[in-house]
């Protein structure tokens, strides 16, 4: 039988297995923590209670999902857009320090609006320039919060 990846059943089973493995690992990780200190439960006790429960429930979910979950697809064309958008958001995060918060925000806005099908240059430019500008005025000029300025350092100061 061929394993269908884009299936609610497969992905729920995978989620169950992943959560069970994570619970087991975290349970194992508590071995270095004391179970009791000065007559009170130590920092290991609560995590052990929680992860034993999640381990059991995750295994139960994985087994149950394999039997009863539907085989309907989870992802669609829209999911691809969402994933592409996540990649843009990761690049946005990575570029904050080096490019500067406001410049990278404008670039992210323009790129993601383009990705999502917006083709009006007026709208693209308006939002990509206007949003960071308003954010700069609110957060930097009014709230005096420091943001990384990156490439705009010569213009805005470090």
């Amino acid at each position: 039988m061929k394993l269908k990846l884009n299936s609610r059943r497969t992905l729920t089973v995978a989620a169950g297995v992943l959560l069970a493995a994570a619970s087991a690992f975290l349970l194992w990780d508590t071995r270095g923590l004391p179970t009791g200190l000065h007559g009170a439960p130590g920092p290991a006790v609560w995590p052990r209670i929680v992860f034993v429960v999640t381990l059991v429930v995750a295994i139960y979910l994985a087994i149950g999902a394999a039997r009863t979950e539907s085989d309907a697809p989870v992802g669609s064309v829209g999911t691809r857009y969402a994933i592409a958008f996540i990649i843009l958001a990761i690049l946005y995060l990575v570029g904050i320090e080096s490019v500067g918060f406001f410049l990278i925000t404008g670039l992210f806005l323009a790129a993601s609006m383009w990705l999502l099908g917006l083709r009006s240059w007026k709208m693209l430019a308006g939002v990509a320039i206007g949003f960071p500008l308003i954010s700069y005025l609110i957060f930097v000029q009014l709230a005096h919060t420091d943001f990384p300025v990156g490439l705009l350092a010569p213009l805005l100061g470090s």
């Binding site: 007559g39 995590p47 929680v50 979910l61 857009y81 946005y92 954010s135 919060t145």
Partner: protein, 497 residues
């Protein structure tokens, strides 16, 4: 109490509090009207902006936006048959039918006025119940707080939708995230994996923003191709006197249901509006007309979902137990401002609390005024392209998370929690239990340990305290009952098939 309340009104009408209250209501309506943007998302997005504000102003802004969002959700429900917030789900049934018949303004009035009344009644209940309950809760010790925390966590079963296991695992994710960092009682680092950045724990605000706002945006992107078409040829007629009269009992019943449901953790605006709609249909002389554009069918759920605001503030403020994602964010705001949720809040920060009570009252009046002024204007919000809205929300999340502590790690937390939340939503794992666990995890754990420290390691003795025992029994019932009911339904369905 009356003197405190008068002082609260004096505090609420200070220009900056008044301004942020009005701004909060307007942002709430604006955000609530956008399909896919829940009230909790709006509050989570606003949270970082409140960082530099005084605590009372911050709470006023957040709760006012909650009031606005609960009404705002009905705008898209009425115009495009899509609830802006989950609480407006029942408004689509008759509200959209009224629009199809050409009377959207009647439907909007039938939503706005009962929403205002429901909100006001909910606020009165909040004032009357919260203070005595907080005084009572002052007697609570570690065992009672532990039981309360467990009771709060037990409501995951009511928030799980069709599979309780997913709710428990979602809560487990939240509990794990709050365990990360230095143990408050012993100083031992837990689950930091050698990373110094994790010693202080994972910041609450970025986690809340990540779990609540980002998954909504990603799901919004998935539906980006769908266009929202507004109906043409609309009448601007207001309801007739006969129609207004019909909304009065519906508003009263809806408000009472909203308050009752709001006070029960886990029973938010969605459940209350469903119950209010069904009760209204049951009480009606013409139940068969429900779903065809009956004005009571709009009034009852809308009164209920706004009354929930006051109702849900009762356990949140007095006991520190949030009943929903929105309330969890509000508790996050309290802790962000160094205030400890629970009965102590009424003792040490009574001014903040009574300012909030008074401003809630004014926020509902502002809702009526702003709602009436913008009655036909708000609908334009629905036409904002999602291709613009989604990236702007993400940028707002990042800027907001960074502005709280000036730490890039927090922006990463938003993204990681957002991606986890999106995966959870795609596989029907509910987000609310994870968010509740972020707030309740520490309450349950540290009071459990303190309880055993006080009792010298004896587990049974503290659990036999009457209030502790009652909360634990309630926790068991709250957790087991929905699972049992679901199991029974599945069994009935499978035997019928």
């Amino acid at each position: 109490m009356f003197e405190h309340l008068l002082a609260g009104f004096a505090g609420a009408v200070i220009p900056h509090n008044l301004l942020f209250m009005v701004v909060g209501v307007a942002i709430g309506i604006f955000g609530g009207a956008m399909p896919g943007v829940a009230a909790s998302t709006i509050i989570a997005l606003l949270l970082p902006f409140t960082f530099g504000m005084p605590a009372d102003t911050s709470l006023i802004l957040l709760t006012a936006s909650y009031v606005g969002a609960e009404y705002g959700g009905s705008i898209s429900a009425i115009f495009i048959n899509t609830p802006g917030t989950p609480g407006a789900i029942m408004t689509t049934l008759d509200g959209y039918q009224m629009t199809k018949r050409g009377f959207p303004v009647k439907a909007l009035c039938a939503s706005l006025v009962p929403s205002t009344i429901g909100g006001l009644v909910g606020n009165i209940a909040l004032i009357l119940i919260a203070v005595p309950l907080a005084n009572f809760a002052l007697r609570f010790g570690p065992s009672e707080y532990f039981a309360l925390g467990v009771f709060g966590l037990s409501i995951v079963a009511t928030l799980t939708g069709d599979d309780w296991r997913k709710g428990v695992l979602a809560a487990g994710i939240g509990l794990f995230l709050v365990m990360i960092g230095t143990d408050q009682m012993t100083g031992y680092p837990r689950f930091t994996f050698g990373r110094g950045e994790l010693l202080g724990g994972v910041s609450l605000v970025p986690m809340l923003i990540g779990f609540l706002a980002l998954p909504e945006v990603l799901l919004m992107i998935e539906e980006i191709g769908e266009k929202t078409a507004l109906p043409q040829k609309l009448s601007h007629a207001f309801p007739t006197w006969q129609e207004w009269k019909a909304t009065i009992p519906a508003t009263i019943r809806g408000s009472l249901i909203g308050i009752a449901m709001g006070t029960i953790p886990g029973h938010g605006s969605t459940i209350s509006s469903i119950i209010a709609y069904n009760e209204e249909r049951r009480a009606s002389k013409h139940p068969e007309k429900f779903g065809t554009g009956v004005i009571e069918g709009v009034a009852a759920p809308e009164a209920a979902n706004n009354a929930v605001v006051g109702g849900s503030l009762i356990p949140t403020l007095t006991l520190g137990i949030p009943g929903s994602g929105s309330m969890a964010v509000l508790l996050g705001a309290l802790t962000l401002h160094g205030l400890e949720p629970g009965p102590g809040l009424f003792q040490h920060n009574a001014d903040v609390i009574f300012n909030l009570f008074a401003s809630q009252f004014l926020a509902n009046i502002a809702l009526l005024v702003i709602g009436l002024i913008g009655m036909t204007w708000w609908v334009r919000v629905i036409e904002v392209p999602r291709a613009v809205l989604a990236p702007c929300i993400v940028a707002l999340c990042f800027i907001g998370a960074y502005s709280v502590s000036g730490n890039l790690w927090d922006v990463g937390t938003v993204l990681v929690c957002g991606i986890i939340g999106y995966g959870m939503r795609k596989l029907n794992f509910p987000i609310a239990p994870a968010v509740l666990a972020l707030i309740l995890g520490n309450i349950a754990e540290y009071n459990y340990r303190r309880m055993l420290l006080v009792s010298g390691g004896d587990l049974l003795e503290p659990l036999m305290h009457p209030i502790t025992a009652i909360f634990l029994v309630l926790a068991v019932i709250t957790f087991v009952w929905p699972i049992y009911r679901h199991w029974k339904t599945v069994r009935r369905q499978s035997s019928a098939a």
